[in-house]
């Protein structure tokens, strides 16, 4: 589904961050990207999500080259195919939980029929993740674990092909981290979503089908 070929990325201050990386991602894959801080995990995730662009190399998604997408094409790609979960939930404090979840739908500008379907899907996701009761609440009225679950539902709102989770449990306690880990796997199982997870957690990584290790910008399989 996703092919990464010879991508490199460097930053002025940090130097070469990703050095000629290549790997493939298949549908419903569970991939853990591991490595020490500064090894380039987030940069790789951002490049996959087209939040950033590689200096060289090729990325193909479902056979199409996407590395040279312009801003608008990148946005559509992200909106339709990628879901992001970050270490911080990044919920907009002035929107309710449901409005936060609906945010990706707003960017897509669906027709009302389609929107209704998506909302139905979201409701199911909210039930599954146990946040239905929080719909009208504001982010500052819910706990960190709940907020991260809201962020997960938001990431899945558009039914993406790939879920990119960058240290999703990094800010959670063990119990909430477990819950979230299980939910991520459940989503993979139930909806066939490809999960690419950047994590330091060995336990969570063990639950993944593939583990990619980054060291000094290089991939150690």
């Amino acid at each position: 589904m996703l092919a990464i070929r010879n991508i490199s990325k460097s930053f002025t201050q940090r130097g070469l961050v990703l050095d000629n990386l290549s790997f493939d991602v298949n549908e419903a894959d569970l991939i853990a990207i591991m490595g020490p801080s500064g090894s380039g995990k987030t940069t790789l995730m951002n490049i996959i999500g087209l939040l950033d662009k590689p200096d060289n190399g090729e990325i193909t998604f479902k056979g199409a080259s996407i590395a040279k997408f312009n801003d608008d094409e990148s946005a559509v790609y992200r909106n339709r195919n990628i879901g992001f979960v970050f270490q911080d939930h990044l919920l907009l404090p002035y929107l309710t939980v449901s409005e936060n979840i609906l945010l990706p739908l707003l960017a897509a500008r669906y027709s009302s029929d389609e929107l209704a379907k998506r909302e139905q899907h979201i409701n199911k996701l909210m039930e599954k993740t146990g946040i239905s009761d929080l719909a009208g609440k504001y982010p500052f009225q819910i706990s960190g674990g709940e907020a991260q679950r809201v962020a997960l539902v938001r990431a899945l709102a558009n039914n993406p092909s790939i879920l990119l989770a960058d240290e999703p449990t990094g800010s959670l306690d063990a119990k909430n981290a477990d819950i979230l880990g299980e939910l991520l796997l459940e989503m993979n199982r139930e909806y066939g979503i490809t999960l690419i997870l950047a994590t330091h957690s060995v336990d969570l990584a063990k639950k993944m089908s593939r583990r990619l290790r980054l060291k000094e910008g290089k991939l150690i399989v």
């Binding site: 987030t42 951002n46 999500g49 939040l51 950033d52 801003d71 608008d72 990148s74 946005a75 559509v76 992200r78 909106n79 339709r80 990628i82 992001f84 970050f86 270490q87 911080d88 990044l90 907009l92 404090p93 002035y94 929107l95 409005e99 609906l102 945010l103 990706p104 739908l105 707003l106 960017a107 897509a108 500008r109 669906y110 009302s112 929107l115 504001y138 500052f140 009225q141 938001r154 558009n158 960058d166 240290e167 990094g170 800010s171």
Partner: protein
């Protein structure tokens, strides 16, 4: 090594050098404006003091005899007897013309000085050769004359006898003299010598006292005595010294022997002797008896009439035959002429000036008590005063009596009487009766007679040193002290510029607030780290305060130094482009550490208090849990405020429509409240209604919801932009221009067309046929032209053109009849007592207690004199007595600015020696205004007339206000620029605040273009809200000016608003361009 607090602070400042630099610059701007304003104030006052000192030279005190003249020897006696160094001068007003350039200068100060004048002022080597004059550089430059050029100098008539006194000669209209310019005097050579308190450089002519002769051909007297200021005498010392040396001759009194009575009499060179002087003499010499001799037009008995006879009123203390009541003693000649005997009735007719100085023929019936032979005391030609137009005449037909003489009535026998007996009175009445009939503003006696037995020496000795100078027409003024006081109490340019720069100061403070907030936001991580490391709140506060303190200190220091530059710039501007506010280009920049220190300390205090509050609030905010930072904003409360302010704004606007006389202030209030209302409206817009996120307009919903949580992020810039535009707009719209309102009767011109001031007073009544004929104004085309003539006393200009605080303004004696009948001028404040139908009627009121009513421009009262309606202004009347002027009303801005107006009747009473009229208001057909102007210029050329359109005169006062408004406009524009920069900071701060949110939106599929558009549209809405709120409020606030004035600077206002919009848009677009994928993505990681 563990870093100390200073090291942390210094490293932090080094690390955040860019935001630190911004803060330093803003604080420096704030400090520069405050310090610069304070230094400018000091510079202006120091300049005024320097100018005053330069003008006065070594003059400390001035002894003035007002409009009277005293013997020049007084100065010598003062110097010799009291060892007070002084010099006597004659100060007269006049005008001159260069015979070379033909250019003329009106309102020239002419100083006739003795050889010691320049020495007195420290210029020992300076002198003026006989036949030459010295002129100051300003006059030389103005006329374009050099040494050797000739000037014709015309000046006010110099005569002991007041021109308006009964029987004063009508011939004189002033003196003139042609002199060569011998020297051009620089200020250092006392060239700018002046006894007035004003910053405006005078045009001076210095002439030898001996070169000016009065109309009797005698060497002139003086009217000012300058006392040196080196020994710092007290007012009392100077007064006592004057009293000690004052002789009767100094005030024009002279003794002569009366052979017929074997006694002596005191007569005055003014003919009439003041009542106060008589009282003074009677106190010292109780045996003195006043005498008054008057010219009767005719004495009638039955069908017989004797024309033009002098009649004397005598005191029974010296003339025992004189009895009280209506009795009259007549000589045989008259008895024969009228064929009357004892017991018969004679009717006497004479001219007497009424309260407005118009000659009225009055009469009284007297009963003949005694017939006397023309011998001894009854044949006393000395009883006739030395009326200048009569005394020396060879025949009655040559009389220049100052009253209408019917030559046809004079018979051969009358000429014979004149030839034989001259002015020997033909009839005698009781003094009290005579005083009642002929006593006038100039005095109730023509002589004081002493019985035989009192020697001249005794009289001289008793009177010398015992006359009270204040009761004999002198005034003593501490000129040096008053000049310093006037400069110290002058227009406070410190406060003025602080007020004018208020918006800039406010903009700087707001901008500082924004930059500090942005700075703290950027340091949030650092602060959080310190918290995490276990630093206590106080420590962190101390670190931040130290850091901010150092920034403030550097900013304030730079600002205080830059304040000197601001001082230089403002002073230069005041001397050039803003000269309209100060009317002089002689202001100097003075550096003084006190205002610099005050400016520095004030700014640092403001900044530190502000930063302390900011730091505390910021740390408090950081310490709160996140959810506590989301303050719920009460939309209901805001809505109530919105409704209330809407209601008040509407009510004020409605009142402004109905109450036309208060429409300016009501409209301004309505506009101001409307500004608040609109800001509340926008606040309501942001917090009032929660917007459901709509799939069709998602970005709008997101923005609205953001601002509903952070309304201040939108409302602050709206308020800022709106207030800025409001201030600048009303400044532009309120620039004082002329429109219909001013030309109306109720306006500042009173509906009059021309304002004229003449150096040589016009004695004629210009509304009479004879007066017009005399002046050549009897042309048919000029029939509709009418005049209001006003008399003017000397004083310091109290208009806004004089920066000094004035305590002795010039008075205008005016007859308000014309104003009342035409409804001219308007009043802003009127004294409630008196129940006058028209405030002008206050001027008719008279009183015996030296207390009268006066009227002045409200501006003069408030700023020039610093008094209010109902207060009493105390001046000295001509006879030296205090004159209490109760301010009855304050005029709305008018052509009378600079003067205090009193009734003509009172003016004549208290300043009788001021002859003729010196100020004219001309009314007539507006279409013939050019003809009026050219005719008056031509016909009154010899009077040194200066003619202005009444609107021009008003405009000269408006120029001051308009210049202040221009200054405000400049500062306002600077404030707006600062405000626009502030808008950029608001945007930056909002952007930083929401950066992670935007990054998330990017991650969820919003293209960066749409995010930019979202930011831009919400900021544009803020810009639009600010601009529209400001413009709408300003239009409402200035509606009366906008609707009435044809000269509203629409283009300027439009350009200003456009400039603000364009600058704002450019700032927004440039700022938004900084929003990129990279900048957003980097913020997605948890902090």
């Amino acid at each position: 090594m563990v870093p100390g607090i200073l090291k942390i602070v210094s490293r932090s400042i080094k690390f955040y050098k860019k935001p630190v630099l911004y803060q330093i610059l803003i604080i420096a701007l704030l400090s520069a404006v405050i310090t610069g304003s304070l230094m400018t104030g000091r510079s202006v006052r120091t300049s005024l003091k320097k100018t005053a000192s330069e003008r006065l030279g070594n003059t400390g005190f001035m002894i003035s005899s007002g409009v009277r003249y005293v013997d020049a020897s007084l100065a010598e006696r003062m110097k010799d007897n009291t060892r007070i160094n002084c010099t006597g001068i004659l100060e007269i007003s006049g005008y001159c013309q260069s015979l070379t350039s033909q250019k003329g200068a009106l309102n020239t100060h002419i100083y006739a000085v003795k050889s010691d004048f320049f020495k007195f002022h420290g210029n020992d080597s300076l002198s003026i050769k006989p036949g030459e004059v010295a002129v100051n550089k300003r006059l030389a430059d103005y006329l374009g004359v050099n040494t050797g050029d000739e000037l014709i100098i015309r000046f006010n008539e110099i005569s002991d006898i007041p021109a308006d006194a009964p029987f004063a000669s009508e011939k004189e209209t002033g003196g003139s003299i042609v002199m060569k310019v011998g020297r051009i005097l620089e200020p250092i050579n006392t060239g700018n010598f002046s006894l007035s308190i004003s910053q405006i450089m005078p045009m001076n002519i210095f002439i030898n006292l001996s070169d000016i002769t009065d109309n009797t051909g005698n060497a002139l007297k003086i009217n000012r005595l300058l006392i040196e200021n080196k020994n710092r005498y007290s007012l009392n010392e100077v007064y006592n010294s004057l009293k000690q040396v004052l002789r009767p001759s100094d005030i024009g009194l002279s003794l002569r022997k009366v052979n017929n009575t074997k006694g002596l009499e005191l007569i005055s060179s003014r003919v009439f002797i003041d009542e106060e002087v008589i009282k003074e003499i009677e106190n010292v010499l109780p045996s003195s008896a006043p005498v008054i001799t008057y010219l009767g037009n005719r004495l009638i008995s039955g069908t017989r009439s004797t024309p033009y006879s002098f009649v004397t009123a005598l005191s029974s203390s010296i003339y025992p035959e004189i009895t009280k009541g209506d009795g009259i003693i007549i000589n045989r000649w008259l008895a024969d002429d009228l064929v009357v005997n004892e017991g018969d009735t004679i009717e006497m007719f004479w001219y007497s000036p009424d309260s407005m100085n118009n000659l009225i023929e009055r009469s009284t019936k007297l009963i003949v008590k005694q017939l006397v032979d023309m011998q001894g005391i009854w044949s006393d030609s000395l009883l006739m005063p030395e009326f200048p137009g009569i005394s020396g005449s060879e025949s009655c037909s040559n009389w220049d009596a100052g009253v209408p003489i019917k030559m046809d009535d004079i018979r051969r026998k009358d000429e014979d009487y004149w030839n034989r007996f001259r002015g020997t009175p033909k009839a005698f009445i009781n003094y009290e009766k005579g005083k009642e009939l002929w006593g006038n503003n100039f005095g109730p006696a023509t002589a004081l007679r002493f019985p035989a037995g009192i020697s001249g020496k005794e009289i001289e000795e008793k009177l010398s040193g015992s006359l009270d100078p204040y009761k004999t027409g002198f005034s003593v003024t501490d000129l040096s002290g008053e000049s310093v006081k006037s400069a110290n109490e002058s227009v406070d340019f410190s406060t003025l510029f602080l007020s004018l720069g208020f918006f800039l100061i406010l903009a700087s403070v707001v901008l500082l607030s924004l930059t500090v907030s942005a700075y703290f936001d950027s340091k949030r991580g650092q602060i959080n780290t310190l918290f995490a490391l276990g630093f206590r709140n106080k420590w962190i506060e101390r670190i931040l305060f130290l850091e901010s303190g150092l920034i403030a200190l550097v900013g304030c220091l730079i600002g205080a130094i830059a304040g000197s530059l601001v001082n230089i710039l403002i002073t230069k501007a005041l001397n050039s482009v803003w000269i309209g506010a100060v009317q002089t280009d002689t202001l100097d920049t003075f550096f003084n550490y006190i205002p610099m220190l005050i400016g520095f300390l004030t700014t640092i205090l403001i900044t530190m208090v502000f930063l302390m509050v900011k730091i505390k609030r910021y740390l408090k905010m950081l310490n709160r849990k996140e959810k506590e930072n989301f303050v719920s904003h009460s939309s209901i409360r805001n809505f109530i405020f919105l409704l209330t302010s809407s209601f008040i704004a509407t009510a004020l606007f409605a009142f402004s429509v109905f109450y036309k006389d208060q429409e300016l202030s009501l409209s301004f209030a309505a506009g101001t409240v409307l500004l608040i209302t609109q800001v509340l409206f926008w606040r309501q817009y942001y917090i009032g209604w929660k917007v459901r996120i709509d799939n069709r307009k998602p970005r709008k919903g997101i923005s609205r919801n953001y601002y509903s949580f952070y309304p201040s992020h939108a409302v602050t810039p709206i308020l800022f932009i709106a207030a800025g535009i409001f201030a600048v707009f009303i400044t532009g719209a309120n620039k004082m221009n002329f429109y219909g309102e001013h030309l109306k009767r109720s306006g500042g011109t009173g509906g009059y067309l021309l304002w004229c001031e003449n150096t040589i007073p016009v004695k004629e009544d210009m509304n009479t046929t004879s007066g017009r004929k005399t002046l050549g104004l009897d042309n048919q085309q000029l029939m509709k032209m009418s005049f209001v003539q006003a008399k003017r006393s000397s004083g310091d200009d109290a208009s806004c053109l004089n920066l000094n605080h004035v305590t002795a303004p010039p008075l205008l004696g005016i007859d308000p009849d014309d104003f009342i009948s035409k409804g001219s001028f308007s009043f802003s404040k009127v004294l409630s007592e008196g129940n006058m139908e028209n405030p002008w009627q206050f001027l008719y009121e008279t009183s015996e207690s030296n207390t009268i009513y006066g009227i002045a421009d409200q501006t003069v009262l408030q700023w020039g004199l610093k008094i209010k309606t109902g207060d009493t202004l105390i001046l000295r009347a001509e006879n030296g007595q205090p004159l209490n002027i109760i301010i009855a009303s304050g005029l709305k801005s008018s052509v009378f600015q600079g003067y205090v107006l009193i009734g003509m009747n009172n003016f004549l009473k208290y300043y009788p020696s001021v002859s003729g009229s010196s100020v004219l208001l001309v009314d007539g057909d507006p279409k013939l205004i050019d003809l009026y102007k050219s005719t008056l210029t031509e016909r009154l050329e010899n009077y040194g007339i200066n003619i202005k359109l009444a609107t021009e005169r008003l405009a000269s006062f408006y120029e001051v206000t308009n210049t202040y408004l221009s200054v405000f406009g400049v500062f306002g524009t600077l404030g707006m620029i600062t405000g626009i920069a502030g808008l950029g900071f608001v945007l930056l701060r909002n952007y930083n605040h929401r950066k992670r949110e935007f990054a998330l939106m990017l991650a969820t599929g919003f293209p960066v273009k749409k995010i930019r558009r979202m930011i831009l549209s919400e900021q544009m809405l803020i810009l639009f809200a600010g601009v529209s709120s400001g413009v709408v409020s300003a239009i409402v606030a200035t509606l009366p000016s906008l609707t009435n004035s044809p000269d509203v600077p629409w283009l300027f206002l439009l350009l200003m608003v456009l400039a603000i919009i364009i600058t704002g848009l450019v700032a927004l677009v440039l700022s938004v361009r900084a929003v990129t994928n990279d900048s957003l993505t980097s913020s997605l990681k948890k902090e």
